[in-house]
Structure formats: structure tokens, C-alpha cells
Subunit: 396 residues, 2 copies
């Protein structure tokens, strides 16, 4: 018989996916140019030419038996070295190849990091708002996710609430900055206070509390700023990264786990990830893609369109009186709906061919997420539609 | 703290890997040409040019936003269609795209298939000899592996022993033909009798018993024969495949689950696999590699070297009086050691720079595995070394 647990999951379909499917059907009816699909976080800019060139160079010049052969279970040493060198150069870290575990995107990186530092029954605290897939990611390990209520005024971490939830069975805290869905970048002050809280907890409970820092949007940051590097603030930090957004290659499934050299058991965590792979059927990302990634670890796609789009939408939402925090990065913005029930709000927007996602599933009930990885022309055309929707439905 | 279960796994290092590492160190001492490393099942022939050409064509001609974008969670429809069409053409099946789930090699395919049809506590029967990684693959799901003792005279399935082990808590049987490590190809007669046994079990226990058929060596078969297609014999068959060996691209991590359309809940299994992916961090193989694979689904690397090597080794082992079954496929042969303790036998061989793997971990204690994915010239040079080893150590 089919496994009932997974069968039941089929019944609880993703709201994002349902809305996106609706948008697809609607586009077929009225033309794609007339449907403003703000649902999916699918990068809209091409990968840099250098990524394609690296792939082709590998295919043309490397012995295919070597290029396409099995990778060692802990990854290709020169790939891991290049990733470590890139992080050291850019963030002043001291990673060696042995601190890097290449993984199939952030999903794969989190699957390994979570299993490495939790056991079934442990709790993992996740500040809201959060990426809804963290639920299945954490539950798939046997641990339990517990959401820390959001701090709605600026979408920094609600540290007061977190302090009250930090009990002896908390093995890890999972954060995501720049944040999906809010676009908030956690400040140095936030990270410093979070580190203090976790260090106090470690002393109190007598065991390590790992900070798993999910950073796929690290390179999409606005106003010429950079994102504070979490591992600088707290020793027991495990960084999970994906090149999906920075290189615009989400389909290639490539990212890594980077273990802070100052971490407890730092030299053991990557070998432990190698063991975890055996049970979950991972065994390294594509060898071709790993090599092409390593040559482009310092590089990004042309990401400026996301900031342009953010400013257009932020200004419009402000002008229309929305309660909204200006994103510091990502390609998301999350205003508060104009009525208490964000599902009702998003349904009314759908009637205007504006497809927004209620943020209830992200731990922010009453708010909605707008993914603006779209051509700027389309975002520009959407602004009048948004104005008209708000005027028609809410008389503003 | 690090998860103790995975930490303990680190202590139990793979014998194959240890031996292969020894072979590497020894090669550094005496020269790679003087060490006969028969440990690893790493394909020795290049991928077909058509695979490289497909990769380059995709990179040069397809819009990078589409090529490298997220794949749908159940895979790229045209890729699944091409895989289904290839299987239908070659094996007279009636798969549609909805029966195919692309996965990261056979390891990924098995991770999904096993989770789809078992729940924690269920038992999975595996006929010996078997690939040792089946242990962690099955245990990683929460189910228990139970080995069916080998039939040493021909390495077909020991159906008599299996019949005695088929109890109500057996959710699945996992078979591998052509078989790693024995090289045996399960005959039509074996598969027919296995199907009868499982059908009787289904009736008796009133629930489905799934047959998971792991077929990565399906295209490496000798004497001009073909491998009987398991799904023809038993309705509840889930086929797991990898292109690692047929296309010589193990590092690219590409394969699939193919659900027999006659299977119970056939239309549900692929969607269930999609849900399983969320918990284990999978989310599709590389999109570039999927597309290149789909164009080469009917194609193979030039695989004839394996048969040449098999014949050289089989004849030599026979001549030297080894108890050995002639492989019908794969790039493995598994003779019986010349003393009861195969570890002692392999240690003595190591002193002659012949690196064999004791098959105790494959469920065949007293036998040893020889992986002959090597250039034929090297295999030829090894024959005299094997003769000399046997003469010196065993006086034959």
C-alpha cells in the first residue's frame, strides 16, 4: 500500500502552486500579457554568459570519464576549495575544503544540515515569516518546527518571543535573511542579539544550539548594501546556500553547506553529511554543474532588475496606503492586506488578474506576498491595475 | 550536538572505499600501472559524443531562463514523455509521462520508491547477493531490510528461502538484475516464479507487495542477449533506473522511477514521489542534464569492453580452479575465495597488488567481488599476476 503520510500530503496542495496554476489557465484565456502573476519566486534574468561558457569549456576540454565520473562522496576537492576561497575572500572567513559540502540547492543543503544537528523529537525554532517549505523540510527529519511569531513593524526577529520559546529540547534555530517572504535583511544588531540569546541558552542547557542560516538571497540586496554574514556573529553557525538566485540557475540544483570552522565538531559535520546522503539518495549534485559553479562562485547574474521592480511596487503600495516594510533584498515584498482576511483580499485581486499569495502559510496571517521576478515593463503595467483594484474594491 | 546515529555510521566505514583508498596510496608508491584496482564500479568508457552534443546544443540554443529555470516538481513533461516513449519502444510497455519520475540516479530513484510503498517498521526483502548500500537506503526510510540467503550455484533468487520469509509485514521486495555483485541476470523463469510467489502473498495477506526492480546495469548484458523486463512479469513493479552505466555519466546523477501502469495506485505513485522529495531535499535532477538525457534515452556508451574483460577474467578464474558463475551482465564477477575467510584471501591478494573486495558485505561471505571496469590492457596484464598470486599463496 502507498505510504499514507505522503498520500495525505497530496491532499494539502500548496496554495502558491494552486494560484500559479490558476494564473496559467487565466493567461491561456486572456493572454499572458494581461495576467500579473506575482506568485512564484522563479528568477526572471538569464544566467551569466560565463556560466554557460564554463559548462561548454568543461564539455569540450575535460576527459568525459573524469568529467562525468562519480564524484567523491564528500564532493570534488577542487570545487570545495574554490567555494571556500570565494567565501573567505568575500566574507573574511577561514573555511577549508573540508568545511564545504556541495548540495542540490538550498533544499538539499537544509536536508543535510537539519539531519546533522537534530534527532527525531528535537525542536527547531523558525522566526516568522518563513518559507513554507521549512515545514516539510524539518518534519522530514523527524524533528518539530516551532514558529516564533513575527515582529510586524520591521520583520526583524522577534527575540523577546524567541527567548520564551528557547527550551532544552531546541537543537537548532533556522533563519533566512534576506527573508522570503518579507524581503527583510536581518541587521547586525539583530544577529548580535540572537547570538547572545543562543549563547546564553547553550550555557543554560549545557549543549550546542546550532544556527542554520539559509542564505539563497544573499546576493540580492538593495541600496548598495551587503548582508551581514551570520557566521561572523555566532560560532555554531551552519550556512546553507543555493546559487539558484545569484546565478539564476534554480533548475540546476546547486548549493552548499558551509560549516563555520569555529563550530562545535566543525571537522565532523561534513563527513556526517556524507553519511546522511546515503539514506536520502543524494550522492552529490551533477559533476558538470559543480565544476561550472566553482568557476563562477564569485559571479552573479545581472540582478539589478529586482531592485528596480521593488522600488516601483513599494512606492505604489505606500501611495495607496498599504502597511508595508521596505525590503532590503530578495525579490519579494509583503504588504498587509486591506482587510483582515488575506485570502479574501487575494481573491478580490484575482478578479483583476492580479495574482498575489496570502502570507498565512508563511506565518504572517493577514499579509500577502508579491514576488516581483518579472520584466520591469510588466511590473510597470501592473501598477495602474493595482491602483484600480484598490479603488474599485476598497474605495481608496 | 551532532546526530549520534550518523556519527556512529562514520565509524563503520565502507570496506570498498577503504580498499580503494589503499589502492590509491599504493599506486602513489609503486605507480598506478602496477596496482590492479578491482574495487570500484566506476564506468571506464567515455559517455557517447551525442550526450556532450546534446548538452552543448541546449546551452547554445535554449533560452537560459527556461533551460536553467525551476523544473516542475514532477519533472519536465517532455523529458518524462521521451523516457516513457523509449521504454515503450524497447520493452513494449505502455507508460505515459505520468508514470515517470526523474531522479538523481538509482540512489535517488530508490529513495523515492522505497518511501512511496513502505512505512516505518515494514520489512523489505532483498535477495543476496546485493549492493551493500541497500542497507542504508532502506534503513533511511524507517523500514527494515531482510536479506534472503543466496543461491550460490547460479545466483538466481533463492525462492524457497524467500517463500519462508514472506510474512504480512513485508511491504516490498527489492531486486537487482543484472546483479551487483554477482553479474547474474535473473531469468524469465526466476521472474515468473517470483511473481507467482508475490501474487500468492498478496492474496494471503490482503495487501499489495511491491516489487522494486533496480536496473542500472540493464544495458550491460553479454552474449547478445537482453535482460527480461521485470515489469512484464508482475503488475506491482516499480522500476528504478540510472543512466550512470549505460551512458557512462555516474557523476551527473540522473535516472528515474517508472511505475508500471498496471500497478495498484499507478496514477498516484509519481505525485507521492513529488511529496517525498520535499522532505529529503531532492526537487528534481539538474535541468540541463535531464534534457540531454532525454535526447539520449535510447543510446548507450560503447559498452563492449566489459564483455571482453569479463571473458578474460572468467576464463582465468576457471582455469585456476575457482568456483565461479559466468556473469550474464554488469561489470562484476564474483568467484569464491580459495579459503573460507574471504577477508584473509583479499588481504593476501593485496600483497600482490591485486585489490579485490570481500563479498561478505554483499551477503555472500567467503566470496569476493571483482569490478572489471578497467581498460582491457590492464585486465590482460592482471591475469599473470592473478596466476602468480594463486600459485604463491595457495600452491595451485
Amino acid at each position: 500500500m502507498l505510504n499514507q503520510h505522503y498520500r495525505d500530503m497530496l491532499g494539502r496542495k500548496s496554495v502558491i502552486r494552486e494560484l500559479s496554476e490558476y494564473a496559467g489557465r487565466r493567461a491561456a484565456e486572456v493572454g499572458a500579457e494581461n495576467v500579473y502573476d506575482f506568485t512564484l519566486g522563479n528568477p526572471s534574468v538569464p544566467a551569466p554568459d560565463s556560466f554557460r561558457d564554463s559548462c561548454i569549456r568543461e564539455l569540450m576540454t575535460r576527459d568525459p570519464v573524469q568529467l562525468h565520473g562519480y564524484s567523491p562522496s564528500l564532493g570534488i576537492p577542487e570545487v570545495n576549495e574554490k567555494v571556500a576561497a570565494s567565501l573567505n575572500r568575500r566574507f573574511g572567513m577561514h573555511y577549508t575544503a573540508g568545511h564545504i559540502f556541495t548540495a542540490t540547492g538550498a533544499a538539499g543543503a537544509l536536508a543535510h544540515a537539519l539531519r546533522a544537528v537534530t534527532k527525531p523529537g528535537d525542536r527547531v525554532l523558525v522566526p516568522a515569516p518563513y518559507f513554507p517549505e521549512y515545514g516539510p523540510y524539518i518534519e522530514g527529519t523527524g524533528a518539530q518546527m516551532q514558529a516564533v511569531p513575527a515582529r510586524f513593524e520591521d520583520f526583524q526577529i522577534n527575540l523577546e518571543k524567541m527567548a520564551g520559546m528557547l527550551t532544552a529540547d531546541v537543537a537548532a534555530v533556522l533563519i533566512n535573511s534576506p527573508n522570503n517572504p518579507s524581503g527583510a535583511v536581518y541587521s547586525e544588531e539583530t544577529l548580535r542579539q540572537l547570538a547572545q540569546l543562543l549563547e546564553d541558552g547553550q550555557k543554560k542547557f549545557g549543549h550546542a544550539i546550532f544556527l542554520i542560516s539559509d542564505e539563497p538571497y544573499r546576493e540580492i540586496v538593495f541600496d548598495g548594501k551587503t548582508v551581514p554574514y551570520t557566521a561572523h556573529f555566532y560560532n555554531n553557525t551552519i550556512t546553507c546556500y543555493s546559487f539558484s538566485k545569484s546565478l539564476s540557475i534554480p533548475g540546476e540544483r546547486i548549493g552548499y553547506v558551509a560549516v563555520n570552522p569555529a563550530c562545535e565538531d566543525a571537522e565532523l559535520i561534513v563527513p556526517v553529511c556524507g553519511q546522511i546522503s546515503r539514506g536520502i539518495g543524494h550522492n552529490c549534485p551533477s559533476s558538470l554543474i559543480m565544476r561550472a559553479m566553482a568557476d563562477n562562485a564569485d559571479c552573479t547574474a545581472d540582478l539589478h532588475v529586482y531592485e528596480t521592480n521593488m522600488n516601483l511596487l513599494y512606492d505604489t503600495f505606500r501611495k495607496l496606503g498599504f502597511d508595508v516594510v521596505r525590503p532590503g533584498g530578495t525579490f519579494y515584498i509583503m504588504p498587509r492586506a486591506l482587510e483582515k482576511d488575506s485570502v479574501s483580499f487575494c481573491r478580490k485581486a484575482m478578479a483583476h488578474d492580479l495574482i498575489f499569495v496570502p502570507a498565512d502559510g508563511f506565518g504572517a496571517p493577514g499579509w500577502f506576498r508579491v514576488a516581483y521576478c518579472l520584466p520591469t515593463g510588466k511590473v510597470e503595467r501592473s501598477l495602474g491595475v493595482i491602483e484600480n483594484f484598490v479603488k474599485t474594491e476598497y474605495g481608496k
